[in-house]
C-alpha cells in the first residue's frame, strides 16, 4: 500500500525500452525531426483527452433531436459543440486519429460494438485513450467472430431480437457508439446524463444505467515507472 505513491528514486535501473525511448527522443530532437517543445505540447494534448466530451455528445443527442441528426451526419462538426476540434493540436488533426468521426446509433433493433481487429484504432480526441484490453490480440480476435460471447463476458446478454453489429475500424474513420438512453432518466439534465455514459458504453461493451457512473471494475496492472500526472 505504501509503495503506491513511491517517488522515483534518484539512481535507478532503466529498462531496455526506457533507454531506447530516451535515445530515440534525444536523437530525434538533435536531428531536428521535432522539437522538445513539440513533444511537450503533444504530451499536454495526450493528458487533456478523456471520455467526457463523447459522453456529452451522447447526452446532447439524447436531449436534442436536431443535434442527434448532426452527430449522425457529421461527427467532426458535432464534436465542436462539445469542445473538441478534431484538427487539434497540429492544425490538421492527430496523425493517428485522422478527422473522420462516425457516430453509431444503437436502436431497439441494433446494438453496436467497436473494435480495430488490425491494431487499436480509437477516436482518441473525443474518447481519450483506449483501454488496455481493447488493444489485446485476444479482444481483436474474438469480438469480430463471437461478439455475443465476448459481450456476455462483459455482462451484456443481447436478446435474440436485437441484432449485434460489429464495426471493425480498419481505415481512417473512427467510431464511437451512441447507446440508447436508459429508462429511469426522465427529466435529467445533460450533465446528469453524461455521467452515466461511460467509456465502455461508447465502445459498445456496456449499456448506460441510471445507477452506474463508472466503467466496470477490472484488475489494474501497475506500472514500474508510471506516468506523472499534472
Amino acid at each position: 500500500m505504501a509503495e503506491k505513491h513511491k517517488a522515483a528514486p534518484m539512481v535507478e535501473e532503466v529498462s531496455d525500452f526506457e533507454a531506447l525511448e530516451m535515445a530515440v527522443r534525444e536523437l530525434a530532437i538533435e536531428k531536428g525531426l521535432f522539437t522538445a517543445d513539440d513533444h511537450r505540447r503533444f504530451t499536454e494534448f495526450a493528458h487533456s483527452i478523456g471520455s467526457l466530451p463523447a459522453a456529452r455528445l451522447v447526452a446532447k443527442a439524447w436531449l436534442d433531436p436536431e443535434f442527434k441528426k448532426l452527430a449522425l451526419e457529421d461527427g467532426v462538426k458535432a464534436s465542436l459543440e462539445v469542445g473538441i476540434d478534431w484538427l487539434n493540436p497540429t492544425g490538421f488533426g492527430t496523425p493517428s486519429d485522422y478527422t473522420d468521426l462516425r457516430v453509431l446509433e444503437d436502436t431497439p433493433k441494433v446494438k453496436h460494438v467497436v473494435v480495430c481487429s488490425l491494431c487499436s484504432c480509437y477516436p482518441r480526441p473525443i474518447l481519450g485513450h483506449s483501454p488496455e484490453w481493447y488493444r489485446t490480440p485476444n479482444y481483436r480476435r474474438r469480438i469480430v467472430r463471437w461478439p455475443r460471447q465476448v459481450l456476455a463476458e462483459f455482462g451484456l446478454q443481447i436478446p435474440e431480437d436485437v441484432d449485434v453489429r460489429v464495426e471493425d475500424s480498419n481505415q481512417k474513420c473512427r467510431f464511437m457508439v451512441m447507446p440508447m438512453r436508459p429508462e429511469g432518466t426522465e427529466g435529467w439534465t445533460e450533465e446528469q446524463l453524461a455521467e452515466i455514459v461511460t467509456r465502455d458504453c461508447m465502445i459498445g461493451v456496456a449499456l448506460p444505467r441510471p445507477d452506474v457512473k463508472a466503467n466496470a471494475k477490472r484488475p489494474v496492472h501497475k506500472a514500474i515507472h508510471p506516468v506523472e500526472h499534472h
Partner: protein, 127 residues
C-alpha cells in the same frame, strides 16, 4: 485462415518445389490480421501507463506531425514488418518504440551507429 503466428516446418529454407500456394499464403499473411482467430476467454484488464510508453506515443505522433513519417508508415512497420514472432512476443508499446527507431535509421535521419552509441550513452547515465 486461422493460422497462428508460428510457421513451424521440418526443414529450414525449404526447397521451392515443396512449397505450395497455401504455404505461400501462410508465409505472406500479415501478422496484424488476427480477426476471427480462435482464442480463449481471458480476464480483461486496465493498465497503468509507463512514462516511457506515453513518451513513445508522443514521439511517434511528433515524428508524423513534423513529417518524418505518416501514421500508416508507422503501422506497417509496427504491426506487419515486425514479423509474426516479434508481433506477439513484444509489449504493445515496445513495437511502437522499435518502429520509431527503425524509421529514423531506414530514412537515414540517423545512422545505426549513432543510435547504438546514444543508447549506450543513456544506459551509462544510470550505472
Amino acid at each position: 485462415m486461422s493460422s497462428r503466428n508460428t510457421l513451424k516446418q521440418p526443414k529450414d529454407a525449404p526447397y521451392p518445389d515443396t512449397f505450395d500456394h497455401a504455404r505461400f499464403r501462410e508465409c505472406m499473411r500479415t501478422p496484424h490480421d488476427v480477426g476471427g482467430e480462435e482464442d480463449v476467454p481471458m480476464q480483461y484488464e486496465e493498465k497503468e501507463e509507463e512514462q516511457w510508453e506515453l513518451n513513445t506515443y508522443v514521439t511517434c505522433e511528433c515524428l508524423a506531425w513534423r513529417g518524418a513519417w505518416n501514421a500508416e508508415e508507422r503501422r506497417r512497420r509496427q504491426n506487419v514488418d515486425m514479423g509474426n514472432s516479434l508481433y506477439l512476443a513484444l509489449p504493445y508499446y515496445g513495437r511502437w518504440l522499435l518502429s520509431a527507431a527503425r524509421i529514423m535509421v531506414d530514412k537515414q535521419y540517423v545512422t545505426l551507429t549513432e543510435l547504438i552509441n546514444k543508447m549506450d550513452e543513456v544506459k551509462k547515465r544510470y550505472e
